[in-house]
């Protein structure tokens, strides 16, 4: 009995940080409709800033002042992000905002590294609450009780703010009806900024308050992101009570999960999410998303054009040039080009669902890494030859996409984005936690091609054949009725249903097909590198594909190819610098803000270079 009480209290105290971060994210989303992917970074900053403040401000007062000040400091940083990064792009398609906040993650990561160094910091104990309390024969750190109190305090405070104060009621009205904001005579800029400050400050306080329990490290940002998304998805976007209940559920589940199924704590959380979503796709306390409530969709895309003769010629020339590379290029160039082709295939498969289908997936790494792991596991345990592994890897990835897609295509917009991200984290956590099979963090090593393909040039030709084959298939599919139906569902789901097209089925099929191709890219990748680690399933990998698609231009069929080339070469070059994330992040933010028309300008330039005609945005057709 005492044991259970202590377990429940531990779960409650674990829920505190989760709730603080999730409620902040929810408040920001509710009013601005921006999913702030950098919210985990604000949490991390709260921990680091709080740590530094605590070393300066001593004693009981100093401890709590530090937490409060950390919250204020992070709130101000949130304000800077809102004004500097997001304000210029509120009217852009939501993908822009998501990508921009990802840029912020990269920048904050490197700035944190720059300021605080790479070492984990161990948090100071809270003065006055260093000890433990005895509950029956069980012990509980007394600070856990403080955290529980804190989360109820914040819940109560937020309830008061949104129900009893004029400002809060206005904000709530704005959440329910964005048009209301103007009608009520509220300055929208102020409202958005204020909400961003509040939401960020909550994340900062969460980060600082958990210092005595968890300390501060550079992985905190991504580590909290997945659970926070799960909490927000389960609770319902924009709902504070939802965030509270869901944070409790997840934390209790973790605490008891550790007792019962120590190997699957991470997976458990996602299973609960899946179950909730089957019955309530909008979360426990969420309301169905009304159409058009999330950002603009950007300018309409131009109709697809058949490949022109010039384009065929350019493509043939490119294929010949690539085939001829081993004649004049050395090992380095061949390896680099193989990387480029794999990245292009990966990104083109994402573009298939994202560009054509309007399904903004933030978890495309699941099928890439999934395919790679499938191949590696087959080689490791079934001693399968490369040929067989390469055949089965895409199938396994397709199967994975089938399961993930079943849940995800029922949602749209940011809900879809978050859910795909959460599922990718499931796959990641399986690879990471199931050490006996996947090798965990150590990965799987020694996955080499068959003898005939083991030379650099031979493998280059294999990548060239399968990679370009996959890309060509994806491009071809865009022109089939299936590809058209996918675009139709994006343009007007209403029209599709009214002419007998099952939009969900089309989207689900596309998701599976894209997963298959992404799995092929993963298989090519694993045999190229000879090993696979959970990093290939990480959020950062999903973002690679997103950035490539984004860089190349979402509305162009050839965008992912142009983007893949530029991005891979750029990364190859940037990664020689210590703070490459900083550069990359700033670059992403710069592109998003300076080219708000979806890189049509750059895309046009690239397309002209390639001499490609399809997808060319036509000016008022004759």
């Amino acid at each position: 009995m005492d044991f259970f009480v202590v377990q429940i209290l531990t779960g409650l105290s674990n829920a505190a940080a989760l709730f603080l971060v999730a409620s902040g994210l929810s408040i920001i989303f509710g009013v601005t409709r921006v999913v702030n992917f950098s919210h985990g970074s604000f949490y991390m900053l709260g921990a680091f800033i709080g740590y530094s403040l605590m070393t300066v401000l001593p004693g009981f007062i100093g401890f709590w002042a530090s937490i409060l000040l950390a919250g204020v400091a992070v709130g101000v940083i949130g304000l800077i992000v809102e004004m500097g990064v997001l304000r210029p792009i509120y009217k852009s398609p939501e993908l822009f905002q998501l990508v921009a906040t990802f840029g912020v993650i990269l920048v904050i990561q490197d700035l944190t590294l720059l300021i605080w160094g790479p070492d984990d910091l161990i948090g100071k104990r809270s003065p006055g609450f260093e000890g433990v309390v005895k509950i029956g024969d069980q012990l509980l750190p007394s600070y856990d009780l403080v955290l529980i109190f804190l989360s109820f305090l914040v819940l109560g405070g937020l309830w008061f703010l949104f129900n009893k104060t004029r400002v809060g009621i206005l904000v709530r009205a704005a959440t329910q009806d964005r048009e209301m904001v103007g009608a009520l005579g509220v300055n929208q800029s102020w409202l958005f900024s204020g909400v961003f400050f509040l939401g960020s400050a909550l994340a900062g306080i969460g980060g600082a308050a958990q210092l005595p329990k968890g300390g501060a490290d550079l992985l905190m940002d991504f580590n909290i992101l997945a659970p926070v998304f799960v909490v927000v998805v389960i609770g319902g976007m924009g709902s504070i009570p939802g965030a509270f209940v869901a944070a409790l559920i997840i934390s209790e589940l973790n605490v008891f999960g550790v007792q019962l199924l120590p190997q699957s704590t991470l997976v458990l959380m996602f299973v609960v999410m899946a179950v909730v979503l089957i019955f309530r796709p909008w979360g426990l306390f969420g309301r169905p998303e009304t159409l058009g409530s999330h950002g603009s969709q950007g300018p309409p895309e131009a109709p697809l054009r058949a490949f022109s003769g010039r384009l065929w010629l350019a493509l043939a020339a490119a294929a010949i040039a690539l085939t001829a590379v081993p004649l004049f290029g050395g090992t380095f160039l061949q390896v680099l080009l193989a990387d480029v082709i794999i990245a292009c295939l990966f990104a083109t498969s994402l573009h298939f669902i994202l560009g054509l289908g309007g399904l903004v997936s933030f978890g495309h790494a699941a099928t890439f890494g999934g395919g790679a792991y499938a191949a590696a596991l087959l080689v490791q345990y079934a001693e399968a030859p490369m040929e067989m592994a390469m055949l089965f890897a895409p199938l396994a990835a397709g199967l994975l996409a089938l399961v993930i897609g079943w849940f995800c295509v029922r949602l749209s917009g940011v809900y879809f984005a978050m859910l795909t991200l959460a599922f990718a984290q499931v796959v990641w956590s399986v690879a990471f936690q199931w050490g006996d099979v996947t090798g965990g963090d150590d990965g799987i090593l020694g996955i080499w091609p068959s003898a005939w393909a083991s030379g650099t040039t031979a493998y280059y030709y294999l990548v060239l054949t399968l990679g370009l084959g996959g890309i060509a298939t994806l491009l071809f599919m865009a022109y089939t009725p299936f590809g058209y139906a996918l675009r139709g569902g994006r343009d007007s789901a209403l029209r599709s249903e009214a002419i007998g097209i099952n939009v969900r089925l089309v989207q689900w099929s596309a998701f599976i097909f894209a997963g298959f191709m992404s799995g092929l890219a993963g298989a090519l990748f694993v045999f190229a590198k000879g090993s696979i680690f959970p990093t290939e399933l990480e959020i950062a990998r999903s973002f690679d594909a997103l950035i490539i698609v984004f860089l190349g231009g979402v509305q162009s069929l050839f965008g992912p190819l142009a983007g893949g080339v530029v991005f891979t070469l750029l990364q190859d070059w940037l990664s020689r610098f210590e703070y490459w994330r900083l550069f990359l992040g700033l670059m992403i933010i710069g592109i998003v803000i300076l080219l708000p028309n979806g890189l049509v300008g750059v895309g046009q330039w690239v397309r002209n270079r390639l001499g490609a005609a399809p997808g060319k945005p036509e000016e008022e057709a004759a």
Binding site: P303, L304, R487, D491, G500
Partner: protein
């Protein structure tokens, strides 16, 4: 013989009774107008007939088969076409491709891969575009069409699977007066030729009185009158709805669709036409 039988259709949003116990019959070869001021519940009725909205009560039978509870997809397969008050077309496709998609779906080719979509059913699509007078714009992007042309395109799409029943929600909104008459004349011809039933809503009384075989008047969710054009026009309660009361729908329509008034709506239409 009526092949569409609607009985006791009811829907409320929150506390508001949008549609209350609406019943109607439609015969083959009949052009039935559903009129009423803004917010009368016309679109809500359409949405319930087409499976987009679940009614609180009521039944809709098409040739004896219940439509309530079916998805729009199924209802379309049963031979019902629809055009929308706010047009729904594929902006990233050409006019031709928009029609081709409906034809591809009708021939159950959505999941086939060869030949490419833009090469399918071209003669059929062309004939449909010709029918609605859009053949000269076949290769334009739907995103650049004028609003009236989008309405015409929607009609072509809705006709692609040779429906038995056509639901048209304000088919002529956004068109010039001449165009309106032309489009309704075309619809009337199709009704006559193919013996299909058409249920349409319309704010332009000239159009209604010139072409409808029968008129249903809806007000605040309830059927106010049901009869021939002359009967409805003479009905004092109908006149009251349109002439008395604060809200004449002519003005509101402007706000709704962003179209300029062409003066053919409302009072004079009722009184003089």
């Amino acid at each position: 013989m009526s092949f569409l039988e609607v009985r006791g259709l009811t829907k409320s949003f929150g506390g508001v009774n949008a549609v209350n116990a609406v019943s109607l019959d439609l015969k083959e070869g009949e052009l039935l107008a559903l009129i009423g001021p803004n917010g009368a519940g016309k679109t809500t009725c359409f949405n319930m007939l087409y499976g987009q909205l679940k009614p609180d009560e009521g039944s809709v039978k098409l040739n004896g088969r219940e439509l309530i509870g079916q998805t729009p997809r199924k209802i379309w397969r049963m031979g019902v076409g629809r055009t929308f008050q706010i047009t729904a077309t594929y902006a990233s496709m050409t006019v031709m491709e928009n029609v081709q998609m409906a034809l591809i779906s009708h021939h159950r080719g959505i999941f086939s891969v060869w030949p490419p979509a833009s090469r399918r059913h071209r003669p059929e699509a062309h004939a449909l575009l010709e029918l609605v007078g859009m053949e000269s714009q076949a290769e334009r992007a739907a995103s650049v069409l004028a609003y009236g042309d989008l309405k015409r395109l929607e009609l072509a799409i809705a006709l692609a699977h040779s429906p038995r029943l056509l639901l048209m929600d304000e088919p002529t909104a956004g068109m010039a007066p001449k165009e309106r008459v032309g489009l309704m004349q075309l619809t009337a011809d199709i009704v006559k030729e193919r013996k299909i039933g058409v249920l349409f809503t319309e704010h332009d009384m000239d159009v209604v009185f010139a072409h409808a075989h029968r008129v249903l008047v809806l007000n605040r969710g309830e059927i106010l009158a049901d009869g021939s054009v002359d009967e409805v026009r003479a009905n004092p309660r109908v006149q009251e709805v349109y002439l008395g009361g604060g809200s004449t729908f002519g003005e509101q329509e402007d706000a709704d669709t962003g179209q300029s008034a062409d003066g053919s709506v409302d009072k004079e239409g009722l009184a003089n036409a």
